[in-house]
C-alpha cells in the first residue's frame, strides 16, 4: 500500500507541467511520450534526434532519482511476466491507435481543451479503473 502524498504529487506535477511547457516554448513540440518513442522506432529524417534526446533525458532523470533515493521508486507489482507482456503490448498498440497517452492527452491535450484528448483521458481512466477492479475482485489482486 502507498500513502496519500498530495504535496509531493503536486510538486511532481508542477515539474511535469514546466517540462512539457519548455518542450513547447523551445522546440514547439507536444511532450507526448508515446508519440515521441514511436517516432524513434519509425525514424523520419531530421525528426528523430530531439526525440532520442528527450527519451535520453527521461532515463537520465531516472538515474538521478535512483542516486538520490535508491529504493523509493522501486516497482513492485503482483503481476506475472505474461501479464507484463500483455500490458506492454496493449499500452504500445493502444497509445498509437489512440494517438497519445497520459502525457500527450492527459496533460498537454487536456490543458489546451482538446476534445479528442478529454475524451481519450476519460476513456483510459475508466478502462484502467475497470481493469484494476476486475484484477482485484475477480483474480484476487494478482495476475
Amino acid at each position: 500500500m502507498h500513502n496519500f502524498t498530495p504535496i509531493a504529487s503536486l510538486a511532481g506535477g508542477i515539474l511535469i507541467g514546466l517540462s512539457a511547457a519548455a518542450m513547447l516554448w523551445f522546440d514547439g513540440k507536444i511532450a507526448g511520450v508515446s508519440g515521441i518513442v514511436a517516432g524513434i522506432l519509425r525514424p523520419v529524417r531530421n525528426d528523430w534526434q530531439w526525440r532520442a534526446c528527450f527519451v535520453g533525458g527521461l532515463v537520465a532523470g531516472g538515474f538521478i532519482m535512483r542516486l538520490v533515493e535508491p529504493s523509493a521508486y522501486a516497482f513492485t507489482i503482483p503481476r506475472s511476466s505474461g501479464a507484463i507482456i500483455v500490458a506492454g503490448l496493449a499500452v504500445g498498440f493502444g497509445t498509437r491507435l489512440g494517438n497519445g497517452c497520459t502525457s500527450g492527452h492527459g496533460v498537454c491535450g487536456v490543458s489546451r481543451l482538446s476534445a479528442r484528448s478529454i475524451v481519450a483521458t476519460g476513456t483510459f481512466l475508466v478502462t484502467g479503473a475497470v481493469t484494476v477492479f476486475v484484477i482485484n475482485h475477480v483474480f484476487g489482486g494478482s495476475l
Binding site: 500500500m1 504529487s9 506535477g13 507526448g32 503481476r79 507484463i84 507482456i85 491507435l97 475524451v119 484494476v132
Partner: protein, 155 residues
C-alpha cells in the same frame, strides 16, 4: 543543437517530476485506479499540477510567432472523435491498469534496470511497431518508407 539540448533537459525534468509525483511505482498507479477500494488520490494531484502549469503557459507560448529553437510549432489540429481514438485509449487504459505503467514512467524506470520494466518496454515498443506495420500495410506501404506519418504528432 539547442533544440536537442532543450529536449534532453525537458526529459530530465519530466522524469524527476514523475518520480517525485509518484507516477513510477506501478503499485501506486494501481492504487490510484482502485476507485472502489482504498483509493489513493495522489496521482490526481500530479495531473492537476501539470495541467494547471501547462494551461497557464500554453496561451503565452502560442502568442509567439515561433518557438525559440525551431522554425515552427508542431501542434495537432484534429478535433474529430473517431473510433480509433476511443478504442486506442480504451486499450491503453487496460494495459495501464494491468501493468501499472504508462509510457513515460516505464522509460524513466529503465534507470532501475529491473526485469519487469525492461520486459514491459520491449513489449510496448513491439505494440507500437505492430501498429505502425498495420497502418502502413493499410496504406500499401512499408513502415520504413512512410514519409510523413499522420500519427506522428501526438494528441
Amino acid at each position: 543543437m539547442k533544440a536537442n539540448l532543450a529536449a534532453f533537459a525537458s526529459g530530465l525534468v519530466f522524469a524527476i517530476g514523475l518520480c517525485i509525483g509518484g507516477m513510477t511505482p506501478p503499485s501506486k498507479v494501481v492504487g490510484f485506479l482502485d476507485f472502489t477500494g482504498q483509493w489513493d488520490a495522489s496521482l490526481a494531484f500530479v495531473m492537476g499540477g501539470a495541467v494547471a502549469v501547462y494551461a497557464a503557459i500554453y496561451p503565452l507560448a502560442r502568442r509567439r510567432v515561433s518557438p525559440l529553437f525551431v522554425p515552427a510549432f508542431s501542434i495537432p489540429s484534429r478535433n474529430d472523435l473517431d473510433g480509433g481514438l476511443i478504442a486506442g485509449a480504451a486499450l491503453f487504459g487496460v494495459g495501464w491498469g494491468l501493468g501499472g505503467f504508462c509510457p513515460g514512467p516505464a522509460i524513466t524506470s529503465l534507470a532501475w534496470i529491473g526485469a519487469p520494466v525492461i520486459t514491459f518496454v520491449i513489449a510496448m515498443c513491439a505494440g507500437m511497431y505492430f501498429h505502425a506495420s498495420i497502418s502502413a500495410a493499410a496504406r500499401g506501404r512499408s513502415p520504413r518508407t512512410t514519409a510523413v506519418p499522420p500519427a506522428m504528432v501526438d494528441a
